[in-house]
Symmetry: D2
């Protein structure tokens, strides 16, 4: 490329949490330029947002439909290359679908859609158009997650036996949705979030992380879904026993009522010869445990790391990178694919190392299976692979 990629945004108005995160992440590496947006269903907020971002007012749109219509008719040296969809869950499907239909690549927030049916429909569209869809499973963007995956793949800890993945948060310990908290409001509303509460919001991240690092798929779940806060409309707390297709077993937790916890996604994996531990809140550290030698602390920025991790690291050891940089890594893998994109040529997301529409379908399958398991008296429910 001889120019930056041009990005449009759907959602991400002034009060949004995730919109600015996408914009900052996209800005870090200097490969992407935000040029237009439909930032809010409130036209005034959309305009205000565009202004604060120094956009050309003509390219601040009232609706995403308007945006896609107008952008696709701009000359190739002006119109956007891709769109980032950063709306609440129930507004992921329609703009993503329309973007693809208009010929734009898409970066979409997770979960990919409101239901498995919608997810499958998007998969078909991606397969048909050959366009690139990336899913913002941010946590797999961390370099030390890449290193963990590399270590498992290369057999360092032997055959994997146990996987413990947890995602405890505490922020929904009180009924914030009744106190005007907008983030809490849509995340606990089945009309906006779908059939899963915590399981969809963070449980999918936990499952995705476990499968990404181990390279194994969850095959069966035995689930306890709770709604701990009285009056809440969706689950806010989950625990489940899980089985993987490599014969490993484990536990997955995802709770938003672990009072005092921040965003403590973490994973521990044990193999025949050793164990691996990673915690998102201290993401530049990876702990390796061994049967017969001292525990090792691997740290971002060192020469002993694999190329799988190194290519995602921007700073020398001891200069911590964080959440925005992990996010930027998802954008980096996505734009690497965009660089190679040619109409009619299928892009292999695995090779470019970004979460794609297949992961979106898998996430929705996971949520629907877990909810089904939670209602069942049977111990184990199979998850479709």
């Amino acid at each position: 490329m001889k120019r930056k990629f041009r990005m449009g945004m759907v959602g991400g108005g002034l009060t949004s949490f995730i919109g600015p995160v996408h914009r900052k992440a996209a800005g870090i590496d200097g490969q992407i330029e935000l040029v237009c947006g439909a930032f809010s269903i409130d036209p005034a907020e959309s305009l205000e947002t565009g202004k604060s971002l120094f956009l050309n007012p003509k390219r601040v749109y009232t609706t995403y439909s308007e945006m896609f219509e107008k952008e696709k008719n701009l000359p190739p040296d002006q119109r956007i290359d891709f769109v980032s969809v950063v709306t609440p869950n129930h507004v992921h499907y329609a703009p993503t679908k329309m973007a693809l239909e208009c010929g734009f690549h898409v970066m979409v927030e997770k979960p990919i859609a409101f239901s498995l049916a919608e997810a499958n429909s998007l998969k078909k569209l991606v397969d048909k158009t050959g366009l690139i869809l990336a899913l913002a499973h941010t946590y797999t963007g961390y370099p030390m997650v890449k290193e963990a995956r590399h270590l498992i793949r290369s057999g360092k800890i032997g055959k994997v036996r146990k996987v413990f993945v947890e995602y405890p948060q505490g922020w929904l310990s009180a009924p914030l949705e009744k106190e005007g908290n907008m983030q809490a409001s849509w995340r606990t509303n089945p009309k906006q979030s779908g059939m899963g509460g915590a399981i969809g919001d963070i449980g999918t991240h936990a499952a995705n992380l476990a499968e990404y690092i181990t390279g194994a798929n969850i095959t069966e779940v035995c689930t306890m879904l709770n709604t701990v806060v009285t009056g809440r409309l969706l689950d806010d707390d989950n625990s489940m026993l899980v089985k993987f297709d490599n014969n490993a077993t484990g536990v997955l937790l995802a709770t938003q009522v672990a009072a005092g916890e921040e965003n403590n996604l973490n994973i521990r994996i044990y193999g025949e010869k050793g164990g691996i531990e990673w915690r998102q809140e201290e993401p530049n550290t990876l702990v390796l445990k061994w049967l017969d030698k001292p525990k090792e602390i691997l740290r971002a920025g060192w020469s002993y790391l694999s190329d799988d991790a190194k290519r995602y690291i921007r700073t020398p050891a001891g200069h911590p990178e964080g959440y925005l940089e992990a996010f930027a890594n998802i954008y980096r893998s996505f734009t690497n694919a965009l660089k190679d994109y040619k109409p009619g040529k299928k892009i292999n997301a695995e090779k470019y190392d970004f979460p794609d529409v297949g992961h979106g379908v898998r996430g929705m399958t996971f949520v629907e299976t877990v909810v089904k398991s939670a209602k069942s008296n049977k111990k184990w429910v199979k998850i479709k692979n």
Copy 2:
């Protein structure tokens, strides 16, 4: 008392792990004197052990039967006050029973017996004799565990919602029982350990810790028991979903194949207002998390602790106490009860704060229920309280 309590020991020969631990723990506070023992089924080892402990050779016995017979006939100013039973699991019941029948108080290693039936039988005997039986659930002897219990009781973190208790060890990752490791050998042998492997050995500690701190009882379990190492005869890995009688729910892990883990018993409890975290490997620290204020790190030896914790602390802040001191605390509570003992008067273990025969019965009930649940396709199995 105007003298030290006189202790006899069953088991704990030169190659024993737990025998010396009991002796050192009993020695710390200068309240107990070891005066006799039947240390091994091998008479030579028993004698050798007694010699290394500077015992009068006349009081080093070949069998526990001999010991009890002879000791009970010694004059009151010489004979033992109590016996510590530190043999492998399948030899807990008989010497404990006989000790009680001979009028001796007992400190017995956990699990209290080989089966629930045996445990119930000991309970009857204790009820009948009025003698004191303490169970060596060491981990509840830690001062910061006492503090955690105090904080829960006094409502500091509000109504308890979630309990996550884990006991990961890694030492059985390889089939050590086939390589001549004696500790591994009896612990994986159903004839010596009973129907539970890891679940009996360490799962009972985890359950006991959770119930001790929260003051709530586990009512239902949904269990996955695995034998991960090929050819092993008992489970070496457990995960379960649990429900408590205070409506809290949680997860209990107990595994001996978490390669690289040492003895990482830990517990996290979340209430409406905050959370508590404790880890056995750094036992002098208790973490308090809050919904709306900074995390607090409580440390042994400070004046801000409750009397429930303070009475078990021997050193000022920053002078770490450890496993032997926790063990010594179990002995301290036990000897406090011994001081108040009068024939015919029932001692209340709760008041003296030591694990008693009731905890022993509960532990065996837990093991049997978990094993039953593991074999069932039903999600939840009730545990008898």
Copy 3:
């Protein structure tokens, strides 16, 4: 502003460490656009760098002189607002001077110049032109450093008594400068780095951090400067006793031969009532210690923090920010000042909270005094304030 600030860059070619850091940091908040540069003394590298950044080739210059000349003649709606000087130490002074003379604001890497004389000369120029000069003392950009400063200022820990600040690195443990490592090469070369090695490179950061957080100035030093690696031309290891103008005393370490350390800048401050501890490698955590209550762990992203910290935080608790974001905070404070800049009106750096030319002069004074103290047999040497 109705547009992004336009930035030019001096230095920061493809092999530079700090150039890309400046560019990424400047890119995060979407307030700054890089439009031109003289990236290297090698014209080909400069051009290549500009190309990789998608710059207009006409604005990729061969020398900074050419850049300033041409840019100042561009129309106001095109020409740069400020320049970032990211060259090795001995090339800070000349481009900074010329930029100011051409009417451009400047962000300059630290140390501000090669000698105190040069620093004083720049100070005069800034005073005369009224332009804004910011110095990239990155580490004061961390939100939890702001919080520490706030806590000290508001008297939370009482009168400050002790300050221990350390900056241990290990990367110069071997003579890398003889093995072709470019970073090592210029940093250990007195012709490029000046009279101080580690003391200038990292000692100044440590001193600046201590003075920034405490609000007190170092008044006297008692110094041991060592060149540990044989054949090295500058110091690589320093320790000093220090006195502050608020009667506090302390220790400052700055070493690059602490084998195995990364970039472990850290500070511990003790007052009458408590202590504060911060470590750059885990920058989102601030530890508060108290005389009579539990240690507290303050974390970025929580509502209990002061506005002094909050205004520099981009993500919710548990979504770690790092080095690039701290750097971006220096740019943020700088651009906040730029927004308010009017010719003839003096900008108060203290109010906008960025390190300015005064800190640059102070840093050079510190280096020269420390080197003098190191050579003296007298215990204490005064530092000019």
Copy 4:
């Protein structure tokens, strides 16, 4: 030996801190029996203490003179083997001297005496009598300190370059000596503590630890001694630059006004190839840092440790040992020497690995040199080896 060693105690009454510590430490391994004592200058307290310890009232003495007189006339199968002197500093010399003169071995609290002159006098007496004197430098009793020493000795981190040893405490941040705190009272009183406050109380521990682990001696000091709390009669805060006889340099801190610190003795040592870090408050962990490979966490109880460490470990990995066990290790080394003692044969403390009268002399030399340096305007003052 066919019996336990018989110990007498001087000091250590009911309100003592260190007396019970000695008794518990001596009790852990079952090798020592306390049989007599002169526990207090208050005869009633002495008696009460003896009673609480179940001693024969005839062997609870009013003065140490009485004790030594009477004990030496007891038959060999009753009288004590050694005496533990656990009084405040100014009462170390006289009872130690008399004990030696009466033919008893001695375990004496540190500092060995009130002045260097007294220390030298004891050294002469030990040399003359051939009796064994051990000094309670507890912190060198930790197994991971032994491991650190082993690693340095065997060259694992290469030639030692830097030594940073710190002993921060916070308990004297307020003038507790004016509030009736007995521990504070004698420790800040020059008539009871000698010429050094914090430097004698804890600085000697720091120096001893650094010299023990590195095997090198401090040769020069450049010292800042402060009395931070107004009205205090002795120093409560020290920092010093130090040089060692192996050409390493470093910093030694010892402060009792680091508000919020407990007993945070810690040491970091850097060599050509790596670094070692140990912290007393988490004593079972030893951190190894490397130039080119991941940091390693060594933990007590693992088979990869050296025999130098293993022989001092009582429990398996993950069963933490603490301060009392470190103390018990000093007693263990002492009793190992006692076992081999024969009149006329000189015991080599180095071989038995306990701090002896030589360390006592060295400690007093250190204190006197540091105090001298603190008063000097010269940067460096030599310390006599």
